[in-house]
Symmetry: C2
Subunit: 476 residues, 2 copies
């Protein structure tokens, strides 16, 4: 990366220094900050540099400006508490979640709508542009050759890159243990089909990603919803009781930055989970789609890292990290490899060739840097979301503190109906994902999931304020 | 299209004139043709123009050259007869077709192998190159926007083009009646899932495309194989008896240029088929993947053209017409539209965005011309294949006369084992698709399917001669 022009760098450095001083208590909440002129003189920089630095701190909600008075250190908002442990029904049930998911997906793609309802990533990173430049370049280079199938398991250089990256998740995988799929959804469905058949019971987190619930329903399976903690994910105690009591054929879990909670299961619980599954001889379909997007300095391991006997079927994609429209996902299905490879062939034959080639090239060069940018941005946008919810929503609102990804789970006051809220918000040009989507039997009626992937700007700030107003109006 | 340079045009015109004279009997089989010098003088053209014209007639196998003697009209080879009507088992059975399909797909992709075994199109047409130029261009133009989902039913301009083209197949469809899929295989699987559930019986042609049989097996369905005629396709009489006798939940048929026979069901039989299905209240999953590649001057109608009550689920793709690696297919599922759209969402979420954009642009401009080229080339290559089989294979060999597409079905002498032949041929660098792939219970042991999409050149001619030799060695 080339260094930014020195004038740009200077105001960023200054903003960071001021932010650090505030964090260290040099300036305290409510304190007036030095004036522009004062700082410019003291530091020997131009007034415009200081103004730009304060502008950045305003954007980051570190300071606030009071007309005619200057800049002041913001008082930290009293952040909303996270929701408590979930308490889903304690028996396997057919999934009744209905057609609203499709409506949410479509509403989120409407050009006039601010899409808090979908779980699509920000598309305004250099990396997203870069991968499409690579796609154009590879399409030119490959020409008609790009029209040939890459039959299962898929394009070898892509699988080689994925195998290399799996090490970061603690998994020693060879390229031949990986099957390329058309996104993570196809990976989940193929793996589910490999381990369970119509009528079987599958244990899931509650709340959980509606795509998983829909796949379970479409395959004629029954869902057994297990309680989750908003920070550590699925309750292993509840899971163990469920495995003792019910004929659970498989688990489908998202241990890293699960959707919608953003919870990351601690490593020692992952090890315990694998022991538990081995004791009950139950396979795990592990959805690791957000694994590369957690905020902690080192990437959390996948549960598959502890998998000694091939019972963990790891699934992921680049839909959250790079772009969903590429439709590049994969599975590392352990002992079910041959079955998943065969199911891929008979279900969709192959995954589009050139997107595989472009993603392989980006993983080899550019992906790591892109991830650093994306993780930093999402973390900052999460912090802002928490403050914005405190500012605009009723005081009884609770919200998770996602440890990765870019969705948060809000518990609204009890009388709220999130499906009605969804409709009212859509009329106002804002989409949300209503809570019942995330449960097999349409629970979580007073919950919503919000996407905070996009930058907080005039448009998104106004949309969140609108949403808060709608909730407040419905709380009186 | 700009006119070719006049010198090029002149030898093509001359070759066509000579070919017409041969067809009209001015020159008869075995006759010596006028010498180069004689013709050049008589017509007032250069000797090289005449030589080039004879070269073209040699390529087309219209004349042959005898050293020191000149050009002679070829005696038409006695072409092999087509195989008789098929006689599959007369009860529904679980599909046992095994793992060899994956091996065939992979073997056909090996760089050193002449791939007669796969059903991939020729990749050496201008149109195939053009669509990849469009992909590069659209990736550049769209940039990061190309990374967004095109949620089901898919990219609207593509569905608009598909709706427009459906008119050629006799179907009045709106864009909103079409769902974009990841290739025809996904379309078939989603439509099958919409109309049948595990344990149900599905009627299919015999022989039939192994991808259909694998999908049936993977979904836990039972296949009821119906006899076919090598020129007119499925026997409606046999189908009617089967519908009377068995609880058939759906049919999956390929009425246009079916794979592997190349048969096209005549229009009046299509109308009768729809009446028959209505009488028994059975839906039809119609695989029309070869519909645009039939050789007759006007494209045959789809069965869906007669569908008055939405019971026909039309499936197709660009995998045979443009390139399989794009993974662009679609379904027009009639009354099952909502279910197929939902199944697409929960099975693979969406189809890759930029391939949809590129195919939409190519359908709007370039596809028609490309089709004319491809149909002409495939028809000519079929004619050559028939002669080559007569020349290289044992006299008892029978072969279909495909009316479209680019695969032919060969019945070898009874003692031949096509799976053994497949292995021996692969050792010699040639892949074939053994007959048992095309039956639910591995019948057609002495049949093979051959792909004739590639141009006949030194390499492919030698490969076919090798194959003929291997069959002859096994026939003694």
């Amino acid at each position: 990366v080339s260094a930014p022009p020195s004038s740009e760098r200077r105001y960023v450095v200054l903003a960071e220094r001021l932010a650090a001083q505030i964090a260290e208590g040099v300036y305290n909440p409510g304190d007036r900050m030095p004036s522009v002129r004062e700082l410019a003189t003291r530091l020997g920089v131009s007034a415009s540099t200081v103004k730009e630095a304060y502008g950045l701190l305003l954007d980051r909600r570190v300071v606030e400006s009071r007309p005619q008075a200057g800049y002041f250190v913001r008082r930290p908002a009293k952040l909303p508490a996270p929701p408590p442990m979930s308490a889903p029904p304690v028996r396997p049930i057919a999934v009744s979640t209905g057609d609203i998911a499709m409506a949410v997906v479509h509403a989120s793609a409407e050009p006039g709508v601010v899409a808090f309802g979908s779980a699509v990533p920000c598309d305004d990173f250099d990396g997203t542009r870069r991968v499409h430049e690579l796609l154009a370049q590879k399409a030119r280079e490959w020409g008609a050759r790009g029209g040939a199938y890459q039959a299962p398991p898929g394009y070898l250089p892509l699988r080689e890159q994925l195998a290399r990256r799996a090490l970061d998740a603690g998994c020693a995988l060879g390229p031949d243990e990986i099957v390329v799929t058309s996104g993570c959804q196809e990976a989940l469905v193929l793996c589910l089909r490999a381990v369970a058949a119509a009528g079987d019971t599958v244990a899931v987190e509650s709340p959980t990603y509606y795509g998983t619930l829909h796949a379970i329903r479409a395959l004629g399976l029954r869902a057994l919803e297990i309680p989750t903690h908003p920070e550590t994910g699925i309750s292993l105690e509840a899971l163990e009781m469920a495995l003792d009591e019910w004929p659970v054929k498989a688990c489908v879990l998202t241990p890293n930055a699960m959707n919608p909670l953003g919870a990351v299961m601690p490593d020692e619980r992952k090890a315990t989970l694998v022991e538990l599954l081995a004791r009950h001889d139950v396979p795990l379909v592990e959805d690791d789609i957000y694994g590369d997007l957690t905020y902690a300095p080192s990437r959390p391991k996948a549960v598959k890292a502890w998998d000694a006997d091939g019972r963990v079927l790891l699934c992921s994609s680049v839909s959250k990290t790079i772009a969903p429209g590429l439709r590049i996902g994969w599975a590392a299905p352990g002992r079910y490899l041959a079955e998943v490879k065969h199911l891929k062939l008979v279900t969709s034959m192959a995954t589009a060739t050139l997107p595989q080639v472009a993603v392989a090239a980006f993983l080899a060069n550019g992906y790591e840097r892109h991830l650093r940018t994306a993780r930093g941005a999402y973390r900052q946008r999460r912090d802002q979301l928490l403050e914005l919810v405190a500012e605009h929503f009723p005081p009884a609102t609770r919200v998770t503190r996602p440890a990765g990804g870019f969705v948060a789970w809000l518990e609204l006051p009890r009388q709220q109906d999130s499906v009605e809220l969804y409709r009212a918000a859509l009329d106002a040009g804002v989409s949300v994902a209503p809570g019942p989507l995330f449960s097999a039997r349409e629970r979580y009626r007073n919950f919503i999931r919000l996407n905070y992937a996009q930058a907080w700007n005039g448009r998104t700030l106004a949309a969140l304020a609108t949403l808060g107003r709608l909730v407040r109006e419905r709380s009186v």
